[in-house]
Assembly symmetry: C2
Homo-oligomer: 491 residues x 2
């Protein structure tokens, strides 16, 4: 059964004095009004961590009650930072089953009321325990991925900085045209360069902000102007160190495969997209993972202006997570709200895209461990005959390492990538140097380094010693003296 969208709505994103349920009720009210509907058959609630952010449990029933729909079935859905997309997928199947006609999807998060270190700790709980205990945060892991990307695709630190700045500038420019965005101002390259370090090579302007906000969508089995034509969902290993590749996400690629297959569309059919830019480089990787550009070439498209608002394939016309804001549970749904507005030509004169008949949303849960790709299109679009349709998207998916395999040993290894984290979670000292080390056996381990605190002290690709201290791997530069010590010890 076909699934359509009959209503959308969202609150302004930013710092709000309202309670989470009030914000979510506001978004629900807007979407129901937009759908010209008062009741639905079911409600799917997307919240990532109400337990710790607001101290509530049993939120699905509370929300149904708050929006005046007590009695209606209500289910909470969660897939970390892709929760909004997860709630949409879950509701999609409920409607597709034919058992439900109209379903409300309602996602939100309240985050700004807590101290940043506490918020950081809560957000870090999405990271695998084996990596979290090193003090690794989302920015730290993402920063290491950015460094690795630069090395793999031969971008100098200067060049990487330029590209990251370009993403931030583009998305802030787009956000300046979005009345719902948390930041509605353009930023210059100077603003970018002046912003404080979060985790080298990421500055504040590389990271999506902490945000309050909610979004809502009404799905229906009755044909409307906007059809949900493909949804794909895939997971990857909980630990980043187990991944075969650090410069792309299997979970996005497998999600995209499924979504294209369901929609019977190809990457070349997509006219615009909302991509999960929780970190600037993730936008580049996202556009490569969904097949818009070849691996390692997403940044070229950005440089050439292809992904600009008036480019050939606009990415994050809304401002993205970067500028619209990132209330973790809501972002995956807010992306889809933007796509619906664009498809309906309702994005406002300045932000409205000209070619907007097929759009794609890509959402990341955790550090790429629970991802989604959703494709929407105008139902009145002229479809090329689907008979004989063939998928021309063939991503390279190298399988991740199985968990439960033996832990690597001490010894020597190669420093694959590293970061210096300047805002570690509660209980860790700043700055915190972390790196992924490839051992001789080919395993990757996360390791910390108490000695080197300047990013220029370390080099990707150099040999390091790896030993255990208080249960954690520590990597050390192989100075001549240390190499000698190591040689003597292992003689």
């Amino acid at each position: 059964m076909g699934v359509y969208i009959s209503g959308v709505g969202m609150t302004n994103f930013g710092k709000s004095k309202k309670s989470l349920e009030k914000m979510m009720a506001e978004a629900a009210g807007l979407a129901l009004k937009n759908a010209e509907m008062e009741r639905v058959d079911a409600i799917y609630i997307g919240v990532m961590n109400v337990e710790e952010f607001v101290g509530d449990s049993n939120f699905a029933a509370l929300l149904a009650d708050t929006i005046g729909l007590s009695g209606i079935p209500s289910t909470r859905v969660e897939t970390a930072s892709s929760t909004g997309a997860g709630a949409l997928e879950t509701a999609f199947y409920a409607v597709a089953s034919g058992h439900m006609k109209n379903v409300l999807v309602l996602a939100g998060e309240k985050m700004t009321h807590l101290p940043t270190a506490k918020t950081t700790r809560i957000l870090s709980e999405v990271i695998d325990r084996s990596e979290r205990r090193y003090g690794a945060t989302m920015p730290a892991l993402a920063a290491m991925i950015a460094q690795k990307y630069a090395r793999e695709f031969k971008l100098s630190p200067k060049k990487l900085e330029e590209i990251l700045a370009l993403v931030a500038m583009k998305n802030h420019a787009n956000g300046s045209l979005n009345p719902h965005a948390q930041f509605q101002k353009r930023i210059s390259r100077e603003d970018y360069l002046k912003s404080q370090w979060v985790s080298y090579p990421f500055r504040l302007y590389d990271c999506a902000p902490i945000t309050d906000g909610a979004a809502a969508i009404v799905l229906t089995s009755q044909p409307t102007l906007v059809k949900v034509s493909g949804i794909g969902h895939a997971t990857d290993t909980s630990a980043v160190s187990h991944r075969a590749s650090l410069t792309s996400f299997n979970s996005t690629k497998e999600s995209a495969l499924k979504a294209y297959r369901m929609a019977q569309l190809n990457p070349s059919d997509i006219q615009f997209a909302e991509v999960h830019d929780a970190f600037t480089l993730f936008e580049i990787i996202g556009t490569e993972d969904v097949g818009f550009f070849p691996p390692g070439e997403g940044w070229k498209a950005l440089e050439q202006g292809v992904t600009q608002l008036r480019g050939k394939l606009p990415i994050n016309a809304s401002g993205g997570l970067k500028s619209r804001g990132h209330p973790v549970g809501a972002s995956g749904l807010a992306q889809v709200v933007e796509i619906v507005w664009q498809l309906r030509q309702e994005a406002g004169t300045e932000r409205q895209l000209k070619k907007a008949e097929i759009g794609l949303a890509q959402s990341i849960g955790g550090l790429g461990s629970n991802n989604f790709v959703t494709i929407l299109e105008r139902a009145d679009r002229k479809r090329v005959v689907t008979e004989g349709w063939r998928l021309d998207y063939r991503p390279r998916i190298k399988p991740s390492r199985k968990t439960g395999t033996a832990l690597p040993q001490e010894g020597t290894g190669v420093l694959e990538t590293f970061t210096v984290l300047y805002s570690p979670p509660e209980g860790f000292v700043s700055p915190l140097t972390l790196g992924f080390v490839k051992t001789k056996g080919g395993d990757r381990v996360l390791a910390c380094n108490p000695d080197y605190r300047s990013p220029t002290d370390l080099k990707m690709g150099e040999q390091v010693n790896l030993h255990k201290k208080e249960g954690l791997f520590v990597f050390e530069k192989q100075t001549l003296w240390k190499r000698l010590q190591h040689w003597i010890k292992n003689r």
Copy 2:
């Protein structure tokens, strides 16, 4: 599309030294092996509060990885203490949609490792904030419902005690035959009477225990011996005080209506059931709510032995939440595992029911705010022609009060029901006397009482004064002297 069950499995319930993900992996392994399957199209994870019980987030991806199915879509579903049933419902629609062929539903909770007061606080977060701030816990609210039930259906305190003891004794007797149960021993009436007070009139043996455990089910679109023939789901107000009736749950009745309609079955068709006996009286109410017995007569059926293991309509052959244990996220799914075992004649010689072709599971989320009814039947059962099928279940559903209406005022009222809570959550002093007071305007409010600490001091139905102190309603017995004071004050 029809939805069938191809595999089930569960861990032993009780106190476990294993981590939550290890327990859940064990259950998943059993269910997959039982289904003779290595891969599935999707995973639905039911956990109620991993954030606070075990300090993890992003659990759906972690679990997929732990069970060796990293890559497969994995979604966490939560509806408070009915979470296991909620995960099953969500997975049901995914299979019913035709998009998924085989789906793993995996539910669990780890609770025993925390101090009881902390566990109590976490569990209390499912209660509406307006009631939680009085120190109300799940046992306290349930105890007030039990008192109200006794008054409404004219049971003396002695009679109520007898009935509650009977439920506990029956379910412990059943649990003694269940190798997966937390408590595998019968209890006597003396054991029951000797057990400590939790919240008057509830003793320890009236309350389901704190438990670790996990359960798993594989759903499939391929016909098997067991069919999921009906699922119903409904919510009710977050605050118990807003309900029209305290002695039955609208959310169960509406769930049952939907489940019977989908299955085209009637209460009289059901041969056995698993009913959410988190508190002894909830089993009685549950059997009335799903239409097995008229309101106020469930206890008679119990007394007459109808619901015993060898009775006409066995309830909780597994031992129920009471004796099998209650890992909050898992219970709703463990009920269904038991029904599948019974339908397949796999429950073991002692526990196996003779007539087991149609079974029903009823699950409660929070204090009756997010409930489910699931009906399963043998696919090889001879069905009476469904043409002309008519529902003969007509529950009385009085709508709950809308939230957001004006708060009641101070003044006088009637003490509708009360409890004395002996194990309040962190931050409250024991014993804590709580009551629901009906005001002159017909509103119900939760109120506390610092004076009266013996249950025999208070009487349901008596006039009380209601005033506010530090933002909380306090009720006071109208002694002659207090009545005079009140009269003088309000003259």
